[in-house]
Symmetry: C2
Subunit: 317 residues, 2 copies
């Protein structure tokens, strides 16, 4: 991938990139067994999500998503004046599938969910699709490659399904800005219509080349995914042995809490020692930390540091 | 610039780019003698324009721009539901400055204008700024470096001025996607607010590095500008000797018409010979062609081809 980018850094940078990203769309389509017309490419999945909210949801028509999920969804709703209702997850952060079947004007689900890392099997996505036959069901699969169950297999069967993915997480290309959506050709045409009213060239030449090269290197990709899963599971085991509750994760992060150490002060203790994790000052999740999986060495440092913090500040009485 | 990009194509591409593009903003600010807080960076000037239309213009409040100008302005208005009025340019495509002084809800001017290539001196921009004290006056300077008069010098004096530029034209970086805006810190904060509700990372790591490297290479930049002007003026002379009317251009393109050869059929004749120029099927400009300046060799081929077409298809009777 790096070699492909270096080779593309030449005088052709004076020319605009292909506004339709045809070559990358075709590569993504081949990878997933779809047609090119079922693929849209954008500047990271955030841009793709923004286009989707604007293309498929409308002022005056209420869409739904879980109360605990990616914090950008309510931002898009406010930005585009789309009313929304947050449906509470169950006590253990599970998706109340039947409550999402209400013939709504739009449904947005992150699978696996953020920041919990919990995933639902694709049969439940199918239930939601059938329970909302008249609207777009947007499934945000930013983290699915780390162990979730992808709904891409349903794209040919459900015209109302839009699956959004990113190259920032499982393909380690956050610095390049490439995200994509897969769905019925009519939905993809809608995304292109919105994009072309905004900015025709959102993905540059080097990002197009890099993303395509990444798709060709399946062996490296699989090896990196396996490594992240291994380090994640190993980290989870070590934390459990320290008394942490670690939520079952299908993502490249874990969501943890400890019965003796409040998350907010633990966050500060770690920060004081140069380790940044995510703390959410929100009801229901304000006693959890989201910890992204780094390298083996980084996670070893993290585990040792948090063990030390527990022993010094939160020892059993 | 190419070396800087190649050096940056490394494992750090796994990390997100700086969402504030602080280093590039600072480089642009230094280049123009502004503060970093007066600079906003986006994914090409089209994205910057889109953010500006959404940030500063509103549904229900009519903005104005010339009837002949960049065709994306009415698209943004429709996209964001902003009413607009097109003020006719004079017979010779000049800006009727006084008609733009009406305390409007927004003014958009391309300077130099597209597709005419005509520019207005900065004193006329000042008149428009003073004639619209309560709204943002957006000056789109995509082509200004090729010979126009920039309003950047007015940024410190007028809080309602936003100057938008791109690296796609004078810096030959269309493939990288970098545009920027310069204006009062409050306007820049408004653009950041819109951007961060849409996509926090619109300019990737390689584009940030490449754009900054380009700003450091002033000698090459000046040489290329001189070359484009030289080839433009030389092409204009040759076309005039063939009987073309060539509008005085301050841009990297020329706007031409011929008394014997209708633009629409000339466009088709050139296309048949493998040369693409822009023809606009619109009132007032439907007998003109916009010809972008390419390399010396390309323009030589263009001149020879159009001369041949004139002799064969449109000879004097």
């Amino acid at each position: 991938m790096l070699e492909a980018i270096k080779a593309a850094a030449d005088k052709n940078l004076r020319l605009y990139p292909d506004p339709e990203a045809a070559s990358l769309c075709s590569a993504i389509a081949n990878y997933y067994g779809l047609a090119s017309e079922q693929v849209f490419v954008g500047n990271g999945s955030d841009e793709v999500l923004a286009f989707a909210f604007q293309a498929f949801f409308s002022p005056g028509k209420t869409i739904v998503f879980p109360d605990i999920t990616y914090t950008f969804y309510p931002v898009y709703c406010q930005f585009y004046d789309i009313p929304y209702r947050e449906i509470p997850l169950t006590e253990y952060f599970n998706l109340p599938v039947q409550e999402f079947c209400g013939d709504y004007a739009g449904v947005v689900l992150a699978n696996p969910n953020a920041p919990t890392g919990k995933s639902v099997p694709v049969c439940k996505i199918r239930t939601v699709l059938e329970g909302n036959p008249n609207c777009v069901v947007l499934v945000d699969e930013a983290y699915v490659d780390f162990g979730g169950d992808s709904a891409v297999s349903l794209v040919d069967s459900y015209k109302n399904l839009l699956v959004v993915k990113t190259m920032s997480k499982s393909r380690s290309l956050a610095g390049l800005r490439v995200g994509y959506a897969m769905g019925d050709a009519d939905l993809i045409a809608g995304l292109n219509c919105v994009k072309n009213s905004f900015n025709s060239y959102t993905v540059d030449r080097l990002a197009l080349v890099g993303a395509e090269a990444s798709l060709r290197d399946e062996a490296y990709y699989r090896a990196m995914l396996a490594k992240v899963s291994l380090v994640r599971n190993h980290t989870a085991s070590r934390l459990k042995s320290m008394g942490f509750c670690v939520m079952e994760s299908s993502a490249n992060f874990i969501f943890i809490s400890h019965k003796r150490a409040p998350a907010r002060s633990l966050y500060q203790d770690l920060r004081d020692r140069g380790i940044l994790v995510r703390y959410f000052n929100r009801p229901k999740i304000d006693n959890y930390l989201r910890v992204t999986i780094g390298t083996e060495e980084e996670m070893d440092t993290f585990c040792k540091t948090i063990q030390e913090v527990l022993e010094v500040n939160y020892h059993e009485v």
